[in-house]
Symmetry: C2
Subunit: 798 residues, 2 copies
């Protein structure tokens, strides 16, 4: 997975506030970034934070989860098994547009006088609000207030409340509420004319139906054969007379409302939007589905949608909120992170979750190991139903994964490195096909779900089969040498600057875990396993391979090479520490692969995910070794580094990395927030807080905690779900408090440090905080690659 | 470099004759192959063996050395340093066409009655002859005899003698002699529409000039900006009246000759063709250049061209001929090989030589390591001027190679893996950029030239700079580990089924040789080296690295892993021995790379090129080990395996491999002779005879010989040039004879087995042949991959 960092481009300050992200005045130079930051989504439907009036914009974006178009993948030199067809998330019919004309002058932030322009993403309310006070070039003043939401409770529905108030003079208003299809696309990142062609006007009009209060339009893609429907309906509230007209053409539909306002009078329009798509259902069925969603939305009413949105989020925050005293910057960033991770996954429901959620078309909207590796751990601990649905989607693609494995000459199932619908679309195999750890990441997510929720039903319905098929994959991928050690050769681990290697420690550990998990699951479900053809010989072979797995170790240096020979490779020469572009933009893969330079946590991630596989001394030495060689050209790195820094007692460094992970988008640290948010980094930030400072882990039986706290944070509390209980952990400078707030009858077994204890709803358990001393001095990073020191104070940031 | 083997498609028998390749009757199903086999070329101008009348054809082909068009290289996932522009040899203006109408009926082998149709490539005369006896559908009978040549002595000139005789009835003949540009291309092997576009009508008309006896036409390419000129001129010999007309349009020109013949009368037309191209010279200059070449050809006359062609070849065969008694199949194949290698290189003169010569557009006409690695050793020993010119071309691309090295973050010069003009165009870096051994192959060719010819001038003029810049490349590519051993990591050796590896033995040995050769050359030319900026520190560092080079060795198995860990990898499972398609067409690179399966001689090639780096025992064990794992999906393999089989005493196996190398095109063993001949395999066959059975090598001081002979060959003689002398070696069942025929005043020092002796022109030296006993049993090959047993008898073959 590639990163592009166009140089840190610090955004105009967004004030540090605990429960919202607010832009006090519109900044046209960072429109692309704010469109991503202010994106609303429920995982099924996503709206970028484009301005209501459509223009100016950087990237207009309306997305339906997994609604994609195909395009060819051309190779100058092809190879057997290369995917032939790419997939790209399509910008579908845009229902956000509300064009306002004030006495015939279009409202546009670039013209006239903008007295006020504030946007505010409310993390508790789940709405995007906008307040505008504008004087038209002709001198007419209006106040515009809009509120936009994408409903968590009405999966197919979004809504806009749009209110205009005349100030000072009477005005004639025309409000054009639109659906627009095939908007001019942003620049396509492809040299191939056929790719651009596939994404230029991707949708073919099927039908347009003007209904009572709006329009329903159907379109389909040319290649992928998917059909979508978008509908809008309106409520108009105004004291005086108004007229409404509807019009619809193949690629646009318009509801026009005209009225006049005296000073102080208001026009208030509620626009209900509904979307649906299907690869199989008929056009009438889709049309009716959208019409029904509109009916349900009208029935709920605007306030009903707002209220249920708030209730949904109250419930979420009750299970997931984090409080950080002493670091308001992190406080805001972590809530922002949680909110967007929830938005990405909440209602994706049997569709894949993209690495950018539905906030942009970066990575073509594809899902990667980001989701199972970084996002699902958070969702499993805070919104387990969303995690279960994401895993059900993976399982639903098993047939494609089996076909892919067969193409590759392997047994079992090989899930795709990047995809929308489950078909492999990765066009560079050393950083795609070869990164087989994805399969174990998926298996781990299933295991975590079962262990954290205590819910066995997912394993029964589909998890067992995934575990079995991935175990089969691993057994066919590995082999025993003549001394009986089990090896995985020619694979790529998480670090994409070291590809196609032998015995990547992370991958080998993950494969062994996958094999053992499958064998254990088979033992739990012997009947069902037999129907999958699993024999005792087969599951014994899985255990044998896991037992014999080879983990390279460099005795001279006392560190684990992340793969065979790694610690023998040449060191990277950092020639220009001022140049902070990713190395991949200024050096060929050839050079990166053969040197000791690490794009992202790999062995360090292995230490995060396998705390018991390393002694404290090994952990300290390994972290020291890899810190010197890790450039963090991937947004998937800082969170893992934060966790291991915390575990090795480098709390200040852990705090710095945590800031980097959490602020990746609020500060646009990789220069590509414009293309969508880094959902996995945001999830990783929460993981880093809870696993790093909270010291949380599960060992399959118990929830374990080894809390610690950096000096800059006065108090940290977090919440998570553990086998039905909602656990709250609060850490202060000298105490740890565990409780089950509001659950008088619940209880949970915890291992706090080395003390086994049971927390009940009756009251909190309080223990002294233990300090953690590092075994080695604080490690250093490559020139120019140290994380920015965490700045916790709001005014320093802005 | 990839191979595609469409299943052995045995051709209709071509009779086994010592000095020609003859097709007794036309076979339309193998037209594509015979067009390649019957191609004529002098290295500058190449004509595929298309029928005179243009149709039917498989691939019309007229090529000018290094005359190419650019096309884009699209990557679905690009990377830093990826070449952006491809190059393809262009099918230029076709001057071969002689359309004959007999009483208005076009002569076409598909219509009427073909009483005789014989084609014959005369390896001594250097001409392609054709004899036809045809009865038109209307019953008119003619005999057509044509002779075609591409002149070795007139570089820009080709000629056709075309004679028609009326048989039985009087006939009216119309002969249309043409130049045709932008012929419909054969199917383009690319999914990218822009590549097809670049090669569809690649030439833009510049001018057409009708001259006295013909036409000169100029065209230029759209992208690469090259201009070419083609001209034709005619002599007409007929007893009766005839008329001649000329016509020219942008993409074709026609000279029409009309006459009538009484039975027994003949029309004889000599067509002179001349070609030229330039990237820099003006259009008038090119037009004049071609006109001058036509004038020179007319001045020489047809017989003059034929005679000088024969004289040129007599001289060549006098230095290069091989005689093989007892194996007429091999006799023919080796002469065919020598002839085509000469055709590829004779007059390429400061242009690159393509892997297919000028016989087809396979591999887009690119040059690879094939040339320096396999072709130049032959040319250096038999036609050293051609070798010197090819090396001068390489040196002329040094600036591009330096730029490429800089792009890759390396010092010195990195020559392109595949190119026409010196710009890297390889689009798959693991089997392109990473195959750095090419640079040492080039350095080795310079060294061999100096040592074999004794001529220092090439080193002075350009070789020293190549040696210095490639040594600099290697020093920046390698590094010392903490124990002082020098490693080359992440490179690809000859075996393309094992790519991007550490410490490939072949590459490490080649790099060390390159470094030492550069240091030695610097010591020979201290002044000149200083102007290249070489210090004593620098050349000392080269020697140090060469001295410290790491060569992996598996002590347990007693063999050299071809790269680190190779002997630890999983074995390939050969599931279907009947499926002889190349593995790369049915397995992904991912699988091939991580297993012990070898596409082509790699460690075995190292043993061929570095006989002193291995003991006899190591050689025997290594050969045995790699034979079991080598599938020969590359045509570059069999010759090296033949040499090592001979050195390890497996003479019958050596003989089998020799047949495979020599018959690669005459038997179309890789199923792609249609796309052009495998020049390196043909050259390798000669190398295999001379190095394998002849036991020839040079150690920098002496020519060494350790002859042996397989049972099936009664007598083998070969010739080569050694420091000005023409050495002839003759091997029979019990004797070795060395002589300098026809050079009374010459002498040469030889090491025959372990006897140092001086051969003079006065008489031959005769010594007993020593037998060679293998240390191990005959090795085996993977299922279905054993070479066909050599069939030496002509009637068995046909």
């Amino acid at each position: 997975m590639s990163a592009s960092r166009a140089g840190h481009s610090p955004r105009a300050a967004l004030p540090v506030e605990p429960w919202c992200v607010r832009e006090p005045s519109v900044d046209l130079t960072t429109l692309a970034q704010t469109e991503s930051l202010f994106a609303l989504s429920n995982g099924h439907l996503g709206l970028r934070g484009n301005l209501d009036e459509g223009e100016p914009n950087a990237t207009p974006g309306t997305y339906l989860g997994s609604f994609f178009e195909n395009h060819p993948l051309p190779y100058p030199e092809g190879g057997y098994g290369y995917p032939e067809s790419g997939q790209t998330l399509v910008n579908v019919t845009n229902g956000k547009i509300m064009r306002l004309l004030v006495d015939d002058e279009p409202f546009d932030v670039r013209y006239g006088d903008l007295l006020t322009h504030e946007r505010r993403l409310d993390l508790r309310g789940g709405v995007l609000e906008r307040h505008v006070d504008w004087v038209s070039p002709a001198g007419k003043r209006v106040r515009v207030r809009s509120t936009r939401l994408v409903s968590f409770t009405h999966r197919a529905v979004a809504g806009i409340e749009y209110e205009v108030e005349a100030v000072g003079d009477p005005v004639r208003l025309i409000l054009q509420s639109e659906l627009v299809t095939n908007e001019a696309p942003p620049e396509v990142d492809s040299e191939d004319p056929r790719v651009a062609q596939a994404l230029d006007n991707p949708l073919v009009a099927v039908s347009q139906d003007v209904e009572q209060g709006g329009v329903v339009m159907l379109h389909r893609t040319r290649q992928s054969g998917l059909t979508m429907a978008a509908g809008m309906d309106h409520e108009v509230h105004v004291d005086g007379r108004y007229d409404v007209e509807h019009d619809a053409r193949p690629d646009w539909a318009r509801t026009t409302i005209v009225t006049t306002l005296a000073p102080g009078e208001r026009l208030r329009v509620v626009k209900y939007l509904a979307y649906g798509w299907s690869a199989r259902r008929s056009e009438p069925a889709l049309r009716d589905q959208v019409a029904a969603a509109l009916t349900a939305a009208r029935y709920a009413g605007w306030q009903g949608l707002v209220d249920s949105q708030r209730a949904y989020l109250d419930d979420f925050w009750g299970c997931a909120d984090v409080e950080v005293d002493g670091d308001p910057v992190l406080q805001q960033a972590v809530r922002f992170s949680l909110f967007h991770v929830l938005q990405a996954g909440a209602r994706s429901e049997r569709r894949g979750i993209g690495a950018k959620g539905l906030t942009g078309t970066g990575y073509n909207g594809h899902t990667f190991w980001d989701i199972e590796g970084f996002v699902l751990p958070l969702l499993t601990l805070t919104a387990p139903d969303a995690a279960a649905n994401a895993l059900r989607w993976r399982a639903s693609t098993l047939d494609l994964a089996r076909q892919r494995a067969a193409t590759l000459g392997l047994a079992g199932a090989a899930f795709p490195w990047r995809t929308i619908d489950g078909e492999e679309t990765s066009a560079y195999w050393p950083a795609g096909t070869a990164a087989f750890h994805l399969n174990a990441d998926i298996a781990r997510a299933f295991e975590q779900y079962r262990r954290i929720t205590g819910d066995d039903s997912l394993e029964v319905s589909c998890g067992l089969e995934v575990l079995v098929e991935t175990a089969r994959l691993w057994l066919s991928l590995g082999h025993h040498d003549r001394h009986g050690r089990w090896h995985l050769d020619g694979v790529t681990g998480p670090d994409e600057y070291t590809a196609v290697v032998d015995d990547n420690v992370f991958t080998n550990l993950m494969a062994a875990r996958n094999l053992r998990a499958a064998a254990d699951a088979v033992a739990r479900h012997p009947e069902q396993s037999r129907t999958l053809g699993v024999t005792t010989e087969e599951s014994a072979a899985w255990r044998d391979a896991a037992e014999a797995v080879h983990l390279p170790y460099d005795k001279e240096l006392g560190v684990h090479p992340q793969c065979n020979s790694f610690t023998r490779y040449a060191e990277w020469e950092f020639t220009d520490p001022e140049d902070d572009r990713p190395l991949m933009l200024r050096a060929p893969y050839f050079q990166l692969y053969r040197k000791q330079v690490v794009k992202q946590a790999d062995l360090v991630l292995a230490m995060q995910w396998f705390p018991d596989a390393f002694t404290d001394e090994e952990r300290a030495r390994n972290f020291d070794y890899y810190e010197k060689r890790t450039v963090r050209d991937s947004s998937l790195s800082a969170a893992a580094q934060s966790v291991i820094a915390a575990r090795t007692g480098h709390l200040r460094l852990a705090h710095d990395y945590l800031h980097e992970a959490a602020l990746v988008d609020l500060r646009d640290l990789h220069g590509n927030t414009s293309q969508g948010l880094h959902i996995a980094s945001l999830a990783g930030a929460w993981n880093a807080l809870v696993e790093g400072f909270g010291g949380m882990r599960e060992d399959g039986e118990r929830l374990r905690l080894e809390p610690t706290l950096p000096a800059a944070i006065d108090r940290l509390s977090f919440r998570l779900r553990w086998r039905g209980a909602r656990v709250r952990v609060e850490i202060t400078a000298d105490e740890v408090r565990c409780s089950l707030p509001g659950q008088p009858d619940a209880s949970a077994d915890l291992l706090l440090y080395d003390e086994l204890l049971t927390v009940t709803g009756a009251g909190e358990v309080v223990r002294p905080l233990r300090s953690r001393e590092p075994l080695l001095p604080t490690p250093t990073q490559p020139p120019g690659r140290a994380p920015e020191p965490a700045r916790t104070s709001a005014d320093v940031v802005s």
